[in-house]
């Protein structure tokens, strides 16, 4: 396996947390809800996944626990914004602050511990394809899951009635209510799904990538996932591409350091954040386009007045 292959394979691994988190947020935002608490939900997933895996010895339990923890954290957000009609921006921020605190609290007993990394599961035949095979088909199960979920969500949004209802709620909640759809319930489901995905993304960090628990280990990835959602124009496949792009930037930074180029590591660490800003700026420049793509009800509270 040559260096290029290793780098590209590494990009996929580095990007997978972002894929999960951004995919979940795409679904949440498509229903018209802006949940800025991705960072908080991710870190909750990270700590829950790590702790459960370590205590139970079961990856499956850890991953499931991480998804549930993310969904649970998201449900707190949902409860506040959907039933108590709190401001979505402020509540999302609160979720992030709360999540970071709770995760640090739970994680206290786990720092310094480590789990064996999730085993790699090469896909028979496909992994034999020259060059491409090792890049795409020699990964742990969660990488495959992330891609399957992107496909699944794309089909869900474009091919199913439930997906249509979700988009309708995000486009015009008053009309959806008037026709008889339960706006709040649809949104709660979308919020919980978004939380579960963010939780998976966090778990990927703590039980695959590192694999250990470090306080604040998400390091802004939740926020980058939010930027990827804007970049993706709220489409799952483009969110996957966006995540791989950002993952690539993170990895390049590591490789430059590895090449022994004389530059302070902090400058390289700034790269992902600076790239996020740059991409966000370029994407948002065309106001009309941004307006057409964004779900029309994004961030607006719904109150059934009729």
């Amino acid at each position: 396996m040559d260096l290029l292959q290793a780098i590209l394979q590494g990009v996929i691994v580095a990007s997978t947390p972002l894929v999960f988190a951004a995919l979940g947020e795409v679904v949440t935002e498509r229903s018209g809800v802006l949940n800025l608490g991705v960072e908080g939900m991710m870190i909750m997933g990270a700590v829950a996944g790590f702790a459960i895996t370590l205590d139970s010895g079961s990856y499956f339990a850890g991953i499931l626990g991480a998804a549930l923890a993310g969904a649970l954290a998201a449900s707190v957000f949902g409860l506040l914004t959907q039933f108590l009609m709190s401001n979505q921006v402020a509540t999302g921020l609160a979720l992030t602050i709360f999540g970071l605190g709770v995760a640090a609290l739970i994680g206290q007993g786990y720092s310094g511990e480590t789990t064996p990394a999730l085993p790699v599961l090469p896909i028979p035949l496909l992994s034999e394809i020259p060059f491409i095979g090792p890049i795409l088909f020699v990964h742990d199960p969660l990488v495959y899951l992330s891609v399957v979920m992107v496909v699944g969500v794309t089909l869900f949004l474009n091919r199913t009635r439930a997906g249509l209802i979700l988009k309708a709620v995000g486009d015009n909640h008053d009309a959806a209510h008037a026709i008889g759809y339960r706006v709040v319930m649809v949104r709660m489901a979308a919020i919980a799904f978004g939380g579960a995905c963010a939780g998976l993304g966090g778990a990927y960090l703590s039980i695959v990538q590192t694999p250990l628990w470090v306080e604040n280990m998400t390091a802004g990835r939740g926020w980058i996932a939010l930027a990827i959602v804007v970049f993706s124009a709220w489409r799952p496949a483009r969110a996957l591409m966006g995540a791989y792009l950002f993952g690539g930037v993170t990895l390049i930074q590591l490789h430059i350091q590895g090449l022994g180029i004389e530059i302070a590591s902090q400058y390289l660490s700034m790269l992902p954040y600076l790239v996020t800003i740059l991409v966000l700026t370029v994407i948002s420049y065309d106001k009309t386009r941004a307006k057409l793509n964004a779900p029309a009800c994004l961030g607006r509270s719904f109150y059934a007045s009729s």
């Binding site: 009635r161 249509l164 209802i165 988009k167 309708a168 486009d171 015009n172 008053d174 009309a175 959806a176 008037a178 026709i179 008889g180 759809y181 009309t288 386009r289 307006k291 057409l292 793509n293 779900p295 029309a296 009729s306």
Partner: protein, 507 residues
Amino acid sequence: MTAPRLELTGVTKRFPGVIANDDVAFSIAPGEMHALLGENGAGKSTLVKMIYGVMRPDAGAMRLDGEVYTPNRPFDARTRGVGMVFQHFSLFEALTVGENVALGMNAADVGRDLNDQIVKVSDAYGLSLDPARTVGSLSVGERQRVEIVRCLLQNPRLLIMDEPTSVLTPQEVDDLFKTLRALIADGCSILYISHKLEEIRAHCDTATVLRGGKVVGHCDPSKATARSLAEMMVGMELALPKKSAIDFGAARLTVNNLSLPADDPFGVSLHDISFTVRAGEILGIAGVAGNGQGELLDALSGERTTQNDAILLDQEPVGSVGPTDRRGLAFCAAPEERLGHGAAPDMSLWENTMLSARSSQGMVHGGMLNLSAAKAFAAKIISAFDVRTSGADKHARTLSGGNLQKFIIGREILQAPRVLAILQPTWGVDAAAAASIHRAIQELASNGAAVLLISQDLDELTAVSTTFAVIAGGRLSAPQPTDSITVEEIGILMGGTQQHTSAGTTS
């Protein structure tokens, strides 16, 4: 005798502090076009929402074809064959016609060949529609067709139409009634809600009149006069505003070849708009909603600036002057949306005076606010325009639509403008408030101001304006004296450029 299609007895609905429907009873025969008539706030919408299952009555009973009918949600209503076309369309702009139709149907009724069915049904009733188009790119009339087709695909026995014509051109109204007649011929009943007396007299078989939530009468509308129906609705004898013949003075507002690109993907661009309004003149601009009215008002209020010489105030160019300085020149405007545009909902009335009257009334000195000047001005508006509120400290949102509108119009008029531009001043306002707003506008004009009145309400325009023009697709027809124009001409002007109305594009 067969059972009535729909029969209501003793239907009552209470809201905190108000009884929206009080012991309402009437029945609709199969194949009947039944009008439900009443002013804004009479309880029509509440009543039909109960029939469609959006709300539940507190008391009373409904029967559909003789059987007990208690819809808990719209799903139940649709299952029983009751369809509804909403006044404010319940459509999704980002989705296609086909998807919109599918969303409005019960899942079990949506077949694989839905798009073929849409084409078939829409052709059968003369409603041409392309299922693949995005709703955001459709004109208002086309959007209504989507709503109707959505109902028709479920073979309704009762179709509820809530104010269906308020957004249509006269020609589109004719087409709509052709469709409705065809439905009636197929045995469908129609509950037709409106406050437009002429079309009810022309098309409906029976009418029920609501006032203050109660049924105040039933009649055969073809045998009643518009005046008698109106008096039933309002509950008093009507005094229509009178136009006094006046000589117009010099040109106060001149607009020359005003063009303005849309700033919103679903907006309308203005093209080469030119007109003049003289002192004492009230220029009424008619048009179907979404044809550039809002954009024209934005250009006149200064919210969007234009080339400087496109707009002249007393021959001085003001096109590039912003809203604050324009008001300083006594050029005022009042937008359509009261809450959130003309006034900030969660601010007190006196704070709201500072939105537009702060420079003319000396409320700001070197950036510092003079709160007592604002409070005094608010009090002056409240008393001069009979705004019903417990005080200037009340938040704008606590006022009823009519009272807030009186406050906003009063705020502009009491600044003694040389030119006043207003959009839809009586939309959703009760008749008494509307009459007083009309009087105030006419009085302002008779004192030498030039007034531009943009409205969708033809009755309002013919009653108040002295000169008349029509806006369609962002273009304005040549103004002409109101008393020389006929409804047919207006209709042709309004519909004439319909192809321009679908200016929005989608990805």
